[in-house]
């Protein structure tokens, strides 16, 4: 296990380094945006002296590297500065939104991952059968449709026509769990439809890829039934690619859901980001980007560790 810890520590270090580089990239990208921040905040009617005062207040007159280090120093301690528009703390503005996004992502993942892997195992077992083809066509259709379109279709059938679920996923912090799950069911279902195909197809491919292995033939020659060959002999050896694609989709569920949030009017971090870009609220934009980057890095790290832990050669060294 010492080896494994060493590898994990190394990956973690690399992840932090990547995050540092990304933070610089984010800062530079925001710097490159056209327009004057003070002007954007104060509006067209501001006088030259007002603008100068605002710039001084925001520290915009300092050279860029100094401002970057100041921002980075704050970010490390959890202080992302103050919103330019509302003057409230960025951390406070983001936290409830991010919690909502995480909740929706976990909700969708809790449904999608078991379905995807279960279906993947089934289509691998009945490969090239009618069931395999139908499952493939359905999941491919759902992944190929734009998510806002899927969202509106679901609203049409499950909300407008039947009234089973609310079409607007408005949540507030005091809401009970059951109500929250019901309100957010349609956005979660939309996301499930978007991510299931990818994970299912990877599970199928990873398993089928192994079916030509000598140990699979050996299992068949021992009289092992087909389902057991797949579940007991192929699946344990195909975790690495499956875990990777699951992590990739989880990252998408956190960082790529802005359209779904808009369709269902869900107060998530994606909407906040888009709003802040249009209002030039740069501290919030930077913080959101950094959180997204950290999410990607963390999930990839988790996938790496997962792959290592499912490899018996690394888990049980000689």
């Amino acid at each position: 296990m010492g080896d494994v810890l060493g590898i994990v520590a190394k990956r973690l270090g690399l992840g932090l380094l990547t995050l540092l580089i990304i933070s610089a990239l984010i800062f530079i990208a925001v710097e490159l945006l056209p327009g004057d921040i003070a002007q954007a905040v104060l509006g067209q009617g501001a006088t030259e002296s007002n603008l100068a005062a605002k710039r001084a207040e925001l520290g915009l007159n300092d050279p860029a590297p100094v401002r970057y280090l100041r921002w980075l120093g704050g970010a490390v301690t959890g202080d992302f500065g103050v919103s330019l528009v509302s003057s409230e703390s960025v951390t406070e503005a983001i936290t409830p939104r991010f919690k909502n996004t995480l909740f929706l992502a976990l909700y969708a993942a809790a449904i999608a991952v078991p379905i995807a892997i279960g279906l993947g195992v089934l289509v691998a077992l009945f490969r090239n059968s009618l069931f395999d083809r139908v499952a493939n066509v359905l999941t491919l259709t759902s992944i190929s449709s734009p998510e806002f379109f899927l969202g509106y279709i679901l609203i049409l059938y499950f909300s407008v026509n039947t009234g089973w679920f609310p079409s607007i996923a408005k949540v507030d912090p005091d809401m009970g769990m059951a109500e929250r799950l019901e309100r957010t069911f349609l956005p979660a279902l939309t996301l499930v439809l978007v991510v299931v195909a990818h994970m299912m197809r990877m599970t199928r491919a990873a398993i089928i890829n192994l079916l030509a292995s000598p140990y699979i033939e050996m299992a068949r020659l021992k009289g092992t039934p087909a389902w057991k060959v797949i579940v007991k002999h192929a699946l344990p050896n195909s975790w690495a690619p499956i875990i990777n694609v699951v992590a990739l989709n989880l990252a998408y569920l956190i960082t790529g859901v802005v359209l779904v949030e808009v369709v269902f009017v869900y107060p998530g971090i994606g909407q906040l980001l888009v709003d802040s870009v249009s209002k030039r609220d740069f501290p919030i934009v930077q913080a959101c980007c950094l959180i997204f980057a950290a999410t990607f890095i963390l999930l990839n790290l988790a996938a790496d560790i997962g792959s290592i832990l499912t490899n018996p050669r690394l888990r049980h060294p000689k």
């Binding site: 030509a212 292995s213 000598p214 140990y215 033939e217 050996m218 299992a219 068949r220 020659l221 021992k222 009289g223 092992t224 039934p225 057991k228 007991k232 002999h233 344990p236 050896n237 018996p312 050669r313 049980h316 000689k318």
Partner: protein, 545 residues
């Protein structure tokens, strides 16, 4: 379906078995009407080259065909049960309980994700032959019978934690788990070193005798089958050539093909000796006190030997003894941590990166797996043409002439092969292309790394003869890496024996093959199976096992 006139202990009766394989969008017959009888407790050897249909027939005896194959005719009758007419479910049960299989590479055939003993108990538990606990106890007993070290514990390890020879015995134990009536052994020792092979052969033979299990023993190695089988059936391209009991088959084979198989091992080239001490000619390659390591792991320890012009030095040893690593040091792929490599008396830079084009040209390599050593998407003319262009600066028409010359040299008709791709060629032809690629650089020294071990005996013999002819015409020096002592006998002038990264003994072939030997050389030499059916028994008695 029992026939009163048959032996009452007849276990397996195959009649007119035909198997088809799917290739190029149509079904092609690959086994053409084979008959086979096997009695209880009897061992039948199936031998033949690759493509003879040995494994296909072996698997058909379990009612199993690989993907892309089907049984198209004939009958496979196992103890009164017609396997070709059974449901999948019944067949599975038969395979789990009454017919077992031992695969060629145990390392690849054990599932890396599960402990050995869990794989052992899978079939007996699934088919309610034994409870998990009983089956585990039984596994430990079998491990002990098969002389595995630490039989109480070894089952709880994962496959990668156990050596190849041990895995092969564990797989034999697994096959015995339900005490089957029939076991198919599919080249169970081909992937093992000779010294390990002995232990596995002895273990298999003992246990088969002890439980009176019938077996089909598939191999391409005649000497091995001579030790194991009561009867031998020779196959060629899906047809039976002949069948007889082992002693008869060895002493008086009837068919030409069988005789040619028997004769392969007789190729000998005359042994050359080093130039007189008075001549000042330095060796082409001189390895002097070389140490090397992979990371912290030291793999070579003070390795020294010389290769003279026009001579073949065979480097022998088991896997992991440092043979290929030595080759990597000579070519500069792995810079030694100590010692020097000299070429015609001149010291070479340790890494290939610092060597001149001419220094690189002098030493070329031919690899074991021609399949993977040739890029499948590059034409033969480019594979051979590229080094000719790189080292000799040839282009256009002269380059084409040179490639054709090289194809002539390796006995492949230039007009036929010039524009083809490697996957269109047979294994032996691919290996010839590998040789031509090495020759294209006009080297004075070639490293042959197990170049014949992936080939059938007849094809391998052709390659050895070609290499021998090229050596005399081009005055080449060879370093011949092999674990096969029969190859050493036929082609070597000098022999270097390696073990655990050290040279344990070296000298001219004649001296090396005549006693007294170093202990380890003796172990290696005596472990090479001989055609005498009593060889294994005698050897085990001598060793006091």
């Amino acid at each position: 379906m029992t026939d009163a006139s048959e032996h009452k202990d007849l276990l397996l009766k195959i009649r007119d078995l035909r198997i088809e394989g799917y290739s190029d969008e149509s079904w092609v017959e690959i086994v053409h009407g084979i008959n086979l009888d096997l009695h209880r407790g009897e061992v039948l050897g199936l031998i033949g080259e690759s493509g003879a249909g040995k494994s296909t027939i072996g698997l058909a005896a379990m009612g199993f065909t690989r993907d892309g194959c089907r049984i198209s005719g004939g009958s496979v009758n196992f103890d009164g049960i017609e396997l070709t007419k059974q449901s999948k479910r019944d067949l599975r049960k038969l395979r789990g309980v009454r017919i077992a299989y031992v695969a060629q590479s145990a390392a690849a055939s054990f599932n890396p994700a599960h402990k050995l003993i869990d794989q052992h108990t899978e079939a007996p538990v699934h088919y309610n032959v034994k409870s998990r606990v009983d089956s585990q106890e039984d596994a430990k007993e079998l491990y002990e019978k098969l002389r595995l070290p630490n039989p109480q514990e070894i089952g709880f390890r994962y496959p990668h934690q156990v050596s190849g020879g041990q895995l092969q015995r564990a797989m034999t134990a697994m096959a015995m788990a339900c005490r089957p009536d029939l076991i198919i052994f599919d080249e169970p020792t081909t992937a093992l070193d000779v010294t390990t092979q002995i232990e596995v052969l002895a273990a298999i033979r003992d246990i088969v005798e002890q439980f009176n299990t019938a077996a089909i023993y598939i191999t391409h190695d005649l000497a091995v089958v001579a030790q194991m089988a009561d009867r031998i059936k020779v196959l060629l391209k899906g047809d039976e050539v002949e069948e007889a009991d082992t002693a008869t088959m060895l002493s008086s084979p009837q068919e030409e093909y069988t005789k040619s198989l028997w004769a392969v091992r007789s190729f000998r080239k005359p042994q050359k000796s080093r130039p007189e001490a008075s001549s000042s000619e330095p060796p082409v390659v001189s390895v002097d006190g070389v140490d090397a390591s992979y990371g912290k792991l030291k793999v070579l320890n003070d390795v020294s030997f010389d290769v003279y012009r026009g001579m073949t030095v065979a480097v022998v040893g088991e896997s992991g003894s440092g043979k290929s690593t030595t080759a990597r040091c000579i070519t500069g792929l792995l810079p030694p941590t100590k010692g020097t490599i000299r070429f015609n008396g001149q010291e070479l830079p340790s890494s290939y990166k610092n060597r001149t084009t001419d220094q690189l040209r002098q030493a070329q390599m031919i690899y074991q797996m021609a399949d993977t050593a040739l890029n499948p998407r590059i034409k033969i003319c480019d594979i051979i043409g590229r080094p000719a262009q790189f080292y000799s600066g040839l282009n256009g028409a002269p380059l084409k002439t040179r490639v054709e010359e090289l194809l002539d040299l390796i006995e492949l008709e230039p007009s036929q092969y010039y524009n083809r791709y490697p996957p269109e060629l047979s294994g032996g032809q691919k290996q010839r292309i590998g040789i031509a690629r090495a020759l294209a650089a006009e080297p004075s020294f070639i490293i042959c790394d197990e170049v014949t071990s992936a080939l059938d005996q007849l094809v391998a013999e052709g390659i050895l003869k070609l290499l021998d002819r090229l050596q005399s015409t081009l005055d080449l020096a060879y370093m011949f890496i092999t674990h096969d002592l029969a190859t050493v006998r036929s082609i070597a002038d000098e022999v270097v024996v390696m073990k655990e990264g050290r040279v344990v003994e070296q000298g001219p072939k004649d001296t090396m093959f005549t006693p007294p030997h170093h202990d380890y050389t003796d172990l290696l030499l005596s472990s090479v199976p001989e055609m005498d059916p009593n060889w294994l028994t005698q050897l085990l008695e001598e060793r006091g096992v």
